[in-house]
Amino acid sequence: MSIRTDLDIIQQWIAPKSRVLDLACGDGTLLKNLKQHKQVESYGLEIDPDKITHAIANGVNVVETNLDQGLSQFPDNSFDVVVMTQALQVMRYPHLVLEEMLRIGKECIVTFPNFGNWRARTSLLLHGRMPVTKQLAYQWYDTPNIHFCTVNDFEALCDEQKIRLIHKEFVAERIPDKQIKGIWPNLFSDTAIYLLSK
């Protein structure tokens, strides 16, 4: 299984020929795949110069954008799907970004690292140190990830903002998490994936 299993799941949720906006699209891996397999019309937004160069070379539409400055340039309901993978936690105002995503897209797909995972909890509990994991290998003082949340936190926010949860999937790579993540996603999943609408 690849590290970005979330991308495989996302692909299944996107209808062929959709108009897709990918926030923080990185090197364009997801959009490249969606173009090949789903014939989507798509744009990726990215701020990192090297990733933008890679995305251009990957043949996807990438538009240099600082997501923290808002997305007012995009009209309401102008995309079938707005996607954001593994980037909610780097946003200055995640709840506002979510609101914007739901304004621009008819549906939204969000994935984020679940900070409620037992490994993160154990690290804090036993060592009293902020977790540094393979997936999130940053020290607390020098990390782009400024807004971590857990599966429960995210669902509470959706509830508060009256966001509809259409589908959810949880990804875990390791044993035993992989086998039991379905029982208690907030404790065992590494990554949470949601399909949302207004």
Binding site: R19, E41, Y43, P49, I52, T53, H54, A55, I56, A57, G59, V60, N61, V62, V63, E64, Q73, F74, P75, S78
Partner: protein, 396 residues
């Protein structure tokens, strides 16, 4: 003096004159019955003619985009940083064509050419031109070279406007438009700067109402002043601060001394103005600045840029530079927004640079990476059309 040119330069190049005897109907309603374009080309046109790139120059540019005209040439062409073997516009892969625009003063028919009806230089009587006239003349040039479709049309500033106009006027003849430090139309501030420059030229007594060539004079002072104004707006405050600061070239502020004071920046500007005024035609400067002012991509599409770009079939790359205040990043972002709303393929890079508008001409690592990455896409579509052509030949 050097006998050899840098390895990644196209080296010695010779411009060519291309004559056209079929009339060119201009946007202003007048017709040029015949005209010529001065053209440079670099690299080889492939057998499918699918690897041709048109480079459109900006206000004061010309056909000499790359290479050297002689071994004594101190300065290479204006886009030497980006055109050459192994450079973003790779002459090992692409056939690159750069004409001097109609109305120019470096060999193409323009105000300093002889008007066949009078036997005298056209001067101010040369027809006013718009970007669409250049695009039309470039299409005739493509016909002459046997190029049905450009792999890409690229340009900065006024050159970027031509690339966008190409996308709308000849949608099936362009696969990629590369629009750098440009805008869909000028702002009032931009037009104001151009008007000051034009006034500088016109108020020079040697301008003689535009007929200075007949009177054997040149409005050097006016043209130099126009260039000085323009030049300041192409640089950034930061760049001028770094380059000149308040350094003095001569004189002193010491009390009790009364020597004339000259700042370095004054001397620099005077040099820029003088150099320009000795190799540029004042009427061409007027014509080019007016073409810039008049350009409005969406004018005849109900002033709706989305509707305008709806006619385009090509993919777009848009690039802006952070300290460019003549063609600010916001202008490029407006272009990108219109392209996205029109559902066109577009990528956009906002390059950090302290070089102002001139950044589009100068070396910058990230700028080169972006162009190189995009040109790899252009090359792959050139290859695809080769494959298509090959498979068609195979099926015949």
């Amino acid at each position: 003096m050097s006998d050899t040119f840098p390895e990644n330069s196209v080296g010695l190049v010779t411009p060519e004159v291309v004559h056209f005897d079929d009339p060119l109907e201009l946007a202003c309603g007048r017709t040029l019955h015949n005209y010529q374009l001065m053209v440079e080309t670099y690299g080889e046109l492939n057998s499918e003619k699918s690897n041709a790139i048109l480079i459109c120059h900006a206000l004061s540019g010309n056909h000499h985009a790359a290479g050297y005209h002689s071994v004594d040439d101190k300065k290479p062409g204006w886009w030497e940083n980006h055109i050459g073997p192994g450079k973003p516009f790779d002459t090992n892969q692409f056939f690159i064509v750069c004409p001097n625009n109609l109305g120019g003063c470096h060999g193409s028919t323009g105000p300093s050419s002889i008007n066949p009806d009078t036997g005298k230089p056209w001067g101010v009587d040369f027809p006013p031109l718009r970007a669409r006239d250049w695009v039309q003349s470039q299409a005739k040039l493509a016909d002459r070279l046997g190029i049905q479709q450009w792999a890409a049309v690229a340009g900065g500033s006024l050159g970027g406007m031509q690339a966008m106009r190409w996308a709308l006027e000849y949608p099936d003849r362009i696969r990629h438009a590369i629009v750098i430090a440009s805008a869909m139309k000028l702002s009032a501030q931009n037009i104001a700067f151009n008007e000051i420059a034009r006034n500088a030229i016109k108020s020079d007594p040697d301008f003689r109402d535009g007929h200075f060539l007949e009177s054997n004079t040149l409005p050097r002072n006016g043209l130099a002043l126009a260039r000085m104004i323009g030049h300041v707006t192409y640089l950034s405050d930061e760049l001028m601060g770094n380059k000149f600061g308040r350094e003095l070239r001569s004189g002193s502020f010491q009390q009790g001394q009364d020597t004339p004071i000259e700042f370095q920046v004054e001397s620099y500007l005077r040099h820029q103005g003088d150099a320009f005024s000795s190799n540029f035609d004042a009427n061409t400067y007027l014509l080019m600045t007016k073409a810039l002012d008049y350009f409005d991509l969406a004018r005849e599409y109900g002033n709706d840029p989305v509707k305008a770009f709806g006619h385009a079939l090509c993919d777009f790359l848009v690039v802006s530079f952070s300290t460019d205040w003549r063609f600010a990043p916001e202008r490029s972002q407006e272009t990108v927004k219109a392209l996205i709303d029109a559902n066109k393929n577009v990528s956009y890079a906002a390059i950090d640079s302290n070089l102002g508008h001139d950044a589009f001409l100068l070396p910058n690592e990230r700028y080169e990476h972006i162009l190189t990455a995009y040109m790899s896409r252009v090359a792959s579509t050139a290859d695809h059309s080769e494959q298509r052509a090959a498979s068609m030949e195979g099926s015949l």
